[in-house]
Amino acid sequence: MSDNTAKQANAVVQVEALTVDFWERQGWLNVVNRVSFNIYPGETLGLAGESGCGKSTTGYALFGYRRPGSRFREGAIYFEGRDLLTQSETELRAIRGDQICLVPQNPATTLTPSMRVGQQVVEALEAHHICSGREADERTIDLFAQVGLPQPKAIAKRYPFQLSGGQQQRVVVAMALAGNPKLVVMDEPTTALDVTTQARILKLLARLQAERGLSALYITHNLGVMAQVADRVAVMYAGELVEVAPTAEFFRNPLHPYTRGLIAAVPRLSAPNESKVKLRGLLRREELPQGCRFAPRCPFAQSECFTQPQPLITVGQDHQVACWLWQSVAEKQGVAE
């Protein structure tokens, strides 16, 4: 919250104690609870977790986007020294799509079906007063070439339905890059694609990011993709961050019982016969304990876990975990039965 922290680092974006509630029938339901993280220049922070854990809500908050029927109860998101959560809609509109851009999950629902894809990019360029007219047309063709679309001129004249899923996603990426983004939020950008297409798009994103020095928040539930794209990984459970670590450390030495269960549940090509140790039970938002929200499903849980909230504690180089039992968890080889 303090101005000091806002200035201290050279982070592109600083999220501090972000807390978001949704209005449900009975009242306010907490979906993101005191989530804090920074994203540094050129870095990709991966955000992982099961559906409903609040990862997309957190990602969209980086735009100052508030879903109807939700509120930012607490926290701040500093981008270029300004708190996005206190900006007006007009100010946000100047930032969104220009300096912070989004690559959403499903290109088919992102693109307007009745408009030629080239025109859609031209519109984005004009909306952000980047260029217009013939210049915008040329810029669009250039962007299409940059995202590896074959025959960019011909593609620009097509409608979304005439393109494959991978081509559509490339158009969306081109549109996201139309402005001059410093930060890109990628919300499961390859989940809807075939693996072969996914591999191509991941390579493309990696190159574009390196060329432009872009920072990214990469939201995905696919830990395989995560291992390939992220510099650091943050895991959310029931609206809270439970572990943050550099990618190599994260996969080599996961410490939170939830993270361990999540990694163990991923089916792997390389180890098909390894028995899959599963996470027990399900996340039940109505029955969250006062303390650690994972406690009801945790095989290591003790009575204190249910009453004592677990903040992130630093346990190693850039490695944070929200579990006071992390040492005894680490000693247990393999994962919980």
Binding site: S164, T196, T197, H221, L223, G224, A248, P267, R268, L269
Partner: protein, 336 residues
């Protein structure tokens, strides 16, 4: 898996939009979506069909279920020809082949309680009612590890994984010999997915159900399936046991698929391959190998002009490719 053949599909060809119009009125002959697909499923075994979207996986399952009429070929079930539309199939045949859909939100009636959803096949196939039906519903819920109190709930009161369990229980209610599972875990979180896969294995061990398991996630398939068929643009490229398909020699397309899967290991590099969009492929290349235009191991014009042979690698393993198997093996002698 030396059990008797349950399902036998021979030279299946399915063409969308075919045969509705007289030939003279057809502008262009519609191209088949599925061509020359042959495979068999033994009782109690899992055959997975994998491939990219548009490869014809679901189309094949729908034809087996009788929801689509094939334009060529034959589908046999327990040595009986069942290549007939669903309305001409007997009630008992319906019972023995059950379909489980990808999205339980769409396949479960939101206005029915779970008891009604599972109870319907019990009435329809077995004429159960009253306390006998109630008992059976409880047994089925127990089989999919749901509490009997779930019977009174509506689908909207369940999580995605629980709903998929109900869909499985509904299929089980018919006591099928074959379940057609169309991407039934792809919409679920990994942890939930793992529990559903476990459940499928358990039910198979208990009840000897065979699965035709349609999926695009190769890691899931490797874990669950006994045998795997790899489809590309409606044609089988490779078929064999899980062990065989997932180790070299591979069909070049299988190889490409396997190389594209990102593994949860940051020490591995990004999957191999180009970052540029795949060139639009020519669907009309009828003569050659359908994969020729994308194949990184293409040997020459023969790939585009001549249909590849089915090469036998072993008694249960075959690859549809011009490149001799021995040569593929030397090329691919590095593990994926």
């Amino acid at each position: 898996m030396t059990n008797a053949t349950l399902l036998d599909v021979q030279k299946l060809e399915i063409t969308y939009g075919a045969s509705q119009l007289p030939r003279f009125a057809q502008r262009r002959k519609p191209q088949p979506t599925v061509r020359e697909v042959s495979f068999a499923v033994a009782a109690g075994e899992t055959l997975a069909l994998v491939g990219e979207s548009g490869s014809g996986k679901t189309t094949i399952a729908r034809a087996v279920a009788g929801l689509l009429a094939p334009s060529q070929g034959q589908i046999r079930f327990e040595n009986q020809d069942i290549t007939v539309p669903i309305e001409r199939r007997s009630r008992d045949l319906h019972r023995q082949i059950q379909f489980i859909f990808q999205n339980p939100d769409a396949s479960l009636n939101p206005r029915q309680r779970i008891a009604d959803i599972i109870g319907r096949p019990l009435e329809f196939f077995f004429g159960l009612s009253g306390s006998a039906k109630k008992r059976r519903i409880e047994e089925l819920l127990e089989a999919v590890h749901l509490a009997s109190s779930y019977a009174r709930r509506f689908p909207s009161q369940l999580s995605g994984g629980e709903r998929q369990r109900v869909a499985i229980a509904q299929a089980l209610a018919a006591e099928p010999k074959l379940a057609l599972c169309d991407e039934i875990v792809s919409a679920l979180d990994v942890s939930v997915q793992a529990t559903i896969l476990d459940l499928l294995k358990e039910l198979q061990a208990e009840r000897g159900i065979a699965y035709l398991f349609i999926a695009h996630d190769l890691a899931v398939v490797r874990w669950l399936a006994h045998r795997v068929g790899v489809l590309y643009r409606g044609q089988l490229m490779e078929i064999g046991t899980s062990e065989e398909v997932f180790s070299p020699p591979y069909h070049p397309y299988t190889e490409m698929l396997l190389q594209s899967v990102p593994e949860p290991d940051p020490n591995l590099p990004l999957p191999a391959g180009d970052e540029r969009a795949a060139e639009p492929t020519d669907a009309g290349s009828r003569q050659g190998c359908p994969f020729a235009s994308r194949c990184p191991r293409k040997v020459g014009t023969i790939c585009e002009q001549e249909r590849p042979p089915w090469q036998t690698v072993g008694p249960t393993h075959a690859i549809y490719c011009h490149i001799p198997v021995a040569q593929l093996a030397t090329m691919q002698n590095v593990s994926p």
